[in-house]
């Protein structure tokens, strides 16, 4: 990526600045560099000047589509840069009636997968100070020298099992497609958990969930969480207790995952956002796996026209009960 970085960024900037200047969009949602070189944050660009801050590198993990929920209130026409997962998230929002297709311009960015700082540090065994990418290899610069590794080994968790790196919906595709990928490991963790006894699984989750701070960062990042008032905050009825105990931890996490049943687009933003590293994706993927097995393959976010599996039925559907 880095080798074409300058060129790619130029292409992107040209395309969006034309639309911004030409009034076809009032705002562009993109990325700008964060405090550190290995961070980025959303860029809300309204002017040519703003666009100078635009970046596109291996650290643009953040899913921008969800920002449309707020920005469409203030701006009539919004442009968004969408990677594969941002585009699927857009379809999710479209299907949930949260965005108006005509008011959004999607600039598709086929995505090679984003890198993860912790991984870089782990591999370099020192604090990384910068990287150089070439031919699928990454050279990590540290105070002690340089270390080289396969790019695939440095991918962020959310990108490792990505099947659709290319945007599935866009108005303009700005870079050349990456192609569909395989993710044979996608359900491995789940299968492992399935093999455990009920007791072991409960203990596993009790421990994992015990770290939950109820900060709801997972929800804020999630494209399927678009309620105006989340059940956790409702007073009447009060679904969710406030106590930090297993009972309430399970309540929140099972219901959060269930609300994504047949709707989760597997972008992994929840897990990336979680400050205490709860493996939230495992709950999401378990539902995806079972629903697909029971009711046929369905991948949320691929096609906004296809009815999500829990909103439809077939008379001869199977059931997961001991009586079928």
């Amino acid at each position: 990526m880095a080798e074409n970085n300058v060129e790619n960024l130029k292409k992107i900037r040209e395309a969006v600045s034309q639309d911004l200047l030409g009034g076809r969009i009032d705002l562009l949602l993109g990325w700008e560099k964060g405090h550190y070189w290995w961070q980025s944050r959303p860029l809300f660009a309204r002017t040519e000047e703003d666009l100078e801050k635009l970046t596109w590198d291996s650290f643009c993990a953040i899913n921008l589509s969800r920002y449309l929920l707020d920005e469409l209130k203030d701006f009539q026409k919004v442009g968004v840069l969408v990677k594969g997962c941002d585009a699927r998230a857009f379809n999710r929002l479209l299907q949930d009636n949260m965005v108006v297709r005509d008011r959004v311009t999607l600039y598709g960015l086929p995505c090679p997968g984003m890198l993860d700082y912790d991984r870089l540090a782990e591999v370099a065994e020192a604090a990384p100070e910068g990287i150089i990418e070439q031919n699928g290899k990454v050279t990590i610069k540290t105070a002690d020298g340089e270390k080289s590794a396969d790019r695939d080994d440095l991918l962020a968790d959310k990108c490792r099992d990505c099947i659709y790196p290319d945007p599935v919906v866009y108005d303009q595709l700005l870079l050349s497609p990456v192609g569909k990928k395989e993710a044979p490991e996608k359900f491995t963790a789940i299968e492992k958990l399935e093999e455990m006894s009920a007791e072991e699984r409960y203990s596993y989750w009790e421990k994992e969930l015990s770290r939950c701070l109820r900060c709801y960062a997972c929800r804020q990042a999630c494209p399927f969480c678009s309620c105006r008032e989340c059940f956790v905050e409702q007073q009447n009825p009060r679904w969710q207790g406030r106590a930090y105990q297993a009972s309430e931890n399970f309540m929140f996490h099972l219901v959060r995952a269930y609300h994504g049943a047949g709707r989760c687009i597997d972008c992994g933003e929840c897990e990336r956002a979680c400050p205490v590293d709860i493996p939230l994706q495992e709950l999401n993927r378990k539902l995806t796996k079972d629903i697909n097995q029971l009711y046929g393959d369905y991948e949320a976010g691929l096609d906004a026209e296809l009815e999500p599996p829990l909103l439809t039925y077939r008379p001869d559907d199977p059931a997961a009960f001991s009586e079928k």
Binding site: D96, E229, L310
Partner: protein
């Protein structure tokens, strides 16, 4: 805090024998909000109801719990009593301490704590009950009948006679349906046209009946009492007001097409009436084959028409009208038996279906009423009838019995013998089914007096050999293989649902079974109702049936429709869903799961900053909502909530039941 009264019924010893009433009373006093507790031997008696009424007034109760039999038994009784005392009836809840408690548990040790738990749950729920009102719905005093066969005609006549206006929408250019295609009817052998035509004319002339032929239902909205229907009147290209039905146009028309009415065995013109007794006697132009429409020249009909009724410029029109009730009577089709390769249907002109064979008997049919082989025009000597072609066949056809074939086959075999005394009929059958008045006697006459040979078994192969068709079959009773050199073969092809029945069902909001027949609301007790209030079904669109059953069902559907139309107002469901617009994010998942299309999207305007923002929310039409609660279960934020079974109420019940284990 509510002021709740709890009333316990002994039901003689039915409850009191297994539930310790004194302990239960004591426990009930401690439920939150309970200010009054009482008991009586038979609470459902007038005395018992008076106790409740009086207590409501005396103690200023605003909530009531009765611990009695099942709510499915007496909930209405007690709610009426509460209403008489001035309390909104929906502020009363029933705890089922008889069917679900005293009758299924062995002693007081089991029964008493359970009764207390159920009462506590009811008291917790009732505290959250709200006064509800069932919506009152106006009734449009007009009925729509879809389908103008014998079922539709009969239903329309009955509704019209009861004094209500009724429209018949018929897809074909004429009413009459399948019965018009029949030569004779079993078991009396009266001529089909002789008994049907007078009814067709009566329908056409009835002041309360309006025929809309060559038209199809496009869209149905609304609900019981107020169905808003869009009907597409297809262009006839003939002005029905000017047309006198003189017939010169179709006489002169040079273009031909296979006649649908004659099952493709004969041709009709491009401007045509489907059959000689058509009602209305106004032709239509078939655009697909008309020379003028295809090539821009001809116009003979226009030149020849004495009253100048031809109008090539006519367009399809949409008629929009409101109806209080709808009767669906769209009839059936005959299965195409060509998938049964061993029978060779479609590969030889002398292998026909039952309905095709029927047309050969008709004086205005393709052979002018002569029963002859279509291959060479000779009268057949041996005719083989094969039953259950596509019926009772779960592998290649339909798993059900088509019901009419045994009888129409006996009829055709008798008619054949009467027309051609030298002809011999053979019937391969699995079972002969003749349940119906005079049916068994009729079928026996075929076998005994008309020399029809019934062979119990099936046919494995039919193939031409010389002038004949060799029918290779088995008679299972003798265990003998039979080869018959037949002249004609008649296949009793299954009666099947109209291919577009599911599509029509979706349009009007009724569902179909796995064979695409329309579903009745209850197989025994609601045979003409559907799950959608105000829509009724009649005739073979529900399942294959004969004419007497069809007519009876049509009259039944008409009575149901008339009963509905005769009401001034209808009472809707009170426990409907309701949307909290402030919370609703407008994802409309509720719309997707609603079986009644009772939920719609609605645009609302909301203050935002200095201006306003438009956004979508869900909106429930309480007249359509039947209170299933599926929407409330799918809503992640609980923004749509069912009254009477709200999230709050159900959680309160869970909490209360779990309080004490």
């Amino acid at each position: 805090m509510p002021r709740t009264g709890v009333f316990l019924c002994h039901c003689g010893s039915n409850i009191a024998g297994t539930v310790n009433i004194d302990q239960t009373i004591e426990a009930s006093r401690n439920f939150p909000g309970v200010v009054h507790v009482d008991e009586y031997r038979y609470l459902c008696s007038e005395m018992g109801q008076d106790i409740i009424k009086k207590a409501i007034e005396d103690n200023n109760l605003d909530r009531v719990v009765v611990g009695t039999c099942s709510p499915r038994m007496h909930e209405n009784t007690f709610r009426k009593a509460a209403a008489e005392a001035g309390l909104n009836p929906y502020l009363l809840e029933v705890a089922n301490i008889r069917e679900h408690c005293s009758w299924v548990h062995k002693d007081m040790e089991e029964g008493t704590p359970k009764a207390i738990a159920l009462l506590r749950a009811a008291a917790a729920k009732v505290a959250l009950n709200e006064a509800l009102e069932a919506p009152k719905l106006e009734v449009e005093k007009r009925a729509l009948v879809i389908g103008g066969g014998i079922a539709g005609i009969q239903a329309a006549l009955d509704i019209a006679e009861a004094g209500y206006p009724v429209d018949i929408v018929e897809r074909e250019p004429s009413i009459g349906g399948r019965m018009a295609q029949l030569e004779k009817t079993f078991p009396t052998l009266d001529c089909s046209a002789c008994i049907l035509t007078p009814k067709m004319v009566e329908a056409a002339q009835h002041p309360n009946i309006n025929l809309i032929t060559y038209a199809e239902v496009e869209e149905v909205n609304g609900f019981v009492g107020q169905f808003d229907v869009k009907i597409k009147q297809k262009a006839r290209y003939v002005d029905p007001v000017k047309c006198t039905g003189c017939g010169i146009c179709w006489e002169k028309c040079p273009a031909k097409a296979p006649s649908e009415f004659e099952m493709g065995l004969a041709k009709r013109k491009s401007i045509y009436v489907p059959f000689a007794q058509a009602v209305p006697m106004v032709p239509v132009i078939d655009k697909e084959t008309c020379l003028y429409f295809r090539k821009g020249r001809c116009q003979i009909c226009e030149k020849e028409c004495p009253p100048q009724a031809i109008d090539y410029e006519q367009q399809d029109e949409i008629i929009e009208r409101r109806y209080g009730a709808i009767v669906v009577a769209t009839g059936f089709d005959q299965m195409d038996p060509s998938i049964y390769g061993e029978y060779g249907y479609g590969q030889h002109p002398d292998i026909l279906t039952g309905l095709e064979f029927e047309r050969l008997f008709n004086a205005s049919g393709p052979t002018g009423g002569k029963v002859v082989r279509l291959s060479d025009g000779k009268p057949p000597k041996k005719v083989v009838f094969i039953q259950c072609v596509g019926s009772r066949d779960k592998a290649r056809g339909m798993n059900y019995c088509s019901k009419i074939c045994c009888m129409f086959t006996a009829k055709q075999a008798i008619l054949l013998k009467e027309k051609l005394p030298d002809a011999k009929s053979y019937v391969f059958y699995i079972d002969v089914r003749t349940a119906g008045k005079g049916y068994e006697e009729f079928q026996r006459r075929a076998a005994e007096e008309y020399d029809v040979a019934y062979l119990r078994g099936q046919v494995g192969k039919i193939f031409p050999e010389g002038d004949h068709l060799v029918v290779h079959g088995v008679d299972s009773l003798s265990g003998k293989v039979v080869d018959i050199k037949a002249d004609m073969v008649v296949l009793s092809a299954a009666s099947i649902a109209r291919a577009d029945a599911p599509e029509l069902g979706r349009k009007i909001g009724i569902n179909t079974d796995s064979y695409n027949f329309f579903n009745e609301a209850h197989p025994k007790l609601k045979p003409v109702e559907t799950h959608t209030a105000g829509i009724f079904i009649a005739g073979a669109c529900q399942t294959p049936k004969d004419i007497p059953d069809t007519v009876a069902q049509a009259s039944a559907a008409a009575v149901k429709a008339v009963g509905l139309l005769s009401k001034e107002m209808l009472q809707g469901e009170a426990c409907t869903a309701e949307v909290d617009e402030a919370e609703c994010s407008g994802c409309l998942h509720c719309v997707a799961v609603c079986p009644y299309t009772a939920i719609d999207a609605k645009e609302i305007e909301e203050r935002y900053g200095d201006g306003t923002l438009k956004r979508t929310v869900a909106e429930v039409n309480p007249a359509l909502c039947q209170g299933c609660g599926s929407c409330s279960a799918i809503c992640r934020s609980g923004s749509i909530n069912q009254k009477g079974f709200s999230n709050e109420q159900i959680l309160a019940e869970v909490d209360a039941i779990c309080l004490q284990r």
